[in-house]
Amino acid sequence: MTGARSIDTAPHPEFRCYSAGNLAEVAPARWSVISWSLVGDPVERGLRAFTTRLLPTARWATGSHYVFVGYFSCRPYHNLAALCHLAHELPGFEGADVTRDYFENVPPPARELRAHTSALQRMLAVPRMAREFHRLRPRLAELEADVTLCEEQVAAALDSGSAIALGGAMERALDMLDRAWDLHYSTTASLVPAGAIQRRLGRRMLPVWDEVEPLVNRPPELPWNRLFDGAVSGTGEESLFLRSPFYEVADVFEPWSSFAGPFTPQPALDVAGPEQDDIAEVVWEMYRGARRIGIEQLTRAVGDNLQAREESKALAMRSLHVFRRALPTLAEEAGVGGDAWGYLRIRELLSPRHRLAVSEIAETRREECEEALREPMPDELNVPLPTDHRAGSRRLPERPRPLRIPTGVSPGVASGVVTTIEQATANGGHTGDEPMILVCESADACIQTLLPGNAGLITLRGSMLSHISTLAREYGIPAVVNHPMAETLRAGQQVVINGNTGEVEVIA
């Protein structure tokens, strides 16, 4: 990471198709260097660990290159080719299962490598996946206790002004952050095979399974309700992160603040959604006997996994907030002034051997970032072969953008007047008598408090298992994601949306 373009990671020599999709849905458009180091690196380690636990012989998931993520011109990417390859290495799954659930249903990239895993290893991955499921709950409980402790330690260290205490707390926080991202990506990656198995079994058991699935695949309880309650009442250290954008820790400084987008949550009073039937119970009571037993158990497992995913996301965000709070003090200790720490990696800030040069590194990076930020970055990258790469420019070519495939992710039909996040935020999540359809580019769990007041949701980005899709289903709000009209719809227009088919119609 030295020399020109040191902010960029090296593209993987074999998995060459990158997608901003899943990250761009939920995170600011560009990330500071420090945020990348607090997310990208742990995510890479987490996905490698997950892969190794499932497929101990998967040597392709090791090595000196980033395998699962990449950072180009300040923009984080998932390595779509590598994630699809992981699906291929598991029994009965394919890349399309990954892209359907997390990457806006784009066509999966061509296979880069042939499968290296033996049939026996693939079969052994099944009980290993089951073990992953089984371990999620205790891992979450353990992590939550550690995150709470770490928040307290950092708060105490900041209060006391003890650099030694703060340094020690930060080392523990780094370990905690690694575990949080590992857990979050374990839950995320586990949902792909679990959902695929459930879908296949469900279709065989119930003729109307495709209509039933979005109704029953719901987390038993969302952690966000409790957290937003804390944010509204102003109590609880654990809810503080909700007042900042997700993912970006240098969010108060230019230029990163300008990329944060309309994500800053505005806790509203109506956190709870409308009262609904327990639709899963309706379903299980309706389908009795053999049809019910297997599919119900599997659905409960998927629901638990969805909840674990939301909880791990909240823990990862809380862990990041620990750094957000401590970084200005740490930077001061390291002799880095003002906003310069946003251009450093976390290890450069914490490690004494870097301390002498941190200001210099930060200034160099600032120039690199300024240059990188002038480059428009595509959503999809198809990195050329290494030989071409050496011969040509370092500019990464864009993958031909696939057509957006509107996807209904939360069933139901709704009509209403288009509103924006800004308008909804200004109204505190409350709308008048007129049903409102919230339209935005993308959204994360942070807009949860705005959802109950709306009759429907349309987003430009998103997939079946995006956090916003999970939330929309939880609130029973018809939702269409990945719809190109989200770019052109204007506040005040009247639309009808169909959360089953993904159709959006402008009426007036």
């Binding site: 003729p207 495709d210 209509e211 009571e285 309706m286 069933p411 039909v413 009808v496 169909n498 089953n500």
Partner: protein, 327 residues
Amino acid sequence: MRALVIGGTGFVGSAVVRAFDNRGIDVVTVSRSGFAFAGDAVRGDVRAHNLGIDPAEAEDLMRTVTHVVSCFGSVDWGAGPRLATELHQQGTRAVMRFAERCSSLERFVHLSSVLVLGRRSSSEPIVDELELGQSFRSWYEYGKFLAEREVRANERIPWRAVRVGGVVGAGEDVLPNPAHGIMAVVPLLLRGYPMHLADHGRFPCYPTDVMVAGEVIARAALDDGSGDVWTWFDDAMPSLAEVLMRLCSPWGVVPRIVDLPFLSPVGRVLAKRLGTPRETLEYVEPWPEIPVEVLSLLPADLPRCPPGYIEATGRALMRSNLAMSAT
């Protein structure tokens, strides 16, 4: 006085339209086809914004309509949750929103079904209760339940709900759909296949004649009062076995109804193999008990189901050959 019948070209809706028309009431039918058996016709769709009615027509209707009857829906017992939520629940919401904007509205009548009672574990008598902790045998039942719940929660319009049982009868304009409901098993019975029914089908299934149902719904719209539920069925309370027998009688066929108490899971599998729709198999156990006394809560001068109306259904189906072609 002007009545708007949503779904007025359906089996029950057409009878309601006839009932209004026979009384000389100006009646408007809203249907997807834009057709009407009597009175005026308006093209519309409850799934579309503002019922999909042309804005000028909608404005005229909102100014002139005094009674709204909601008869739309599908009785497809095999449909999925979209039927329940998109059509029945949200469609009913949309119809009520329209009714709320009718400045001279005197009554809103919602056509419900005794099947909203679903499957109950308790045998407490039912009058007009809705939320009884029941479970549901099909998305149709749940959809009708959701729709009635929406209506009962509405405090802005003078509503009345009419629950009817299985609607049969020859119908003046529309034949019953032989593919759905009880009728779906008739073709199999006519071919001589046995059908398993608990207690040999000696439990009530609350049928009613379609033309009488149309009269009752029209009366529900015209009679004073609101915020109540009328439950209507044939007071003779024929059992399910009796209904099936009378439906098949025009063909000279006696249905082979069997009770396989210890073999019911096997019987279900066999029945599926023989072509019985899976959703119909959910109705082979006794239905929730509704006391005949609920009929005494309704006006005394309501018409009674005419003798032979069930056989007339069979004859109508035989003439049209629909029952056999449904297989």
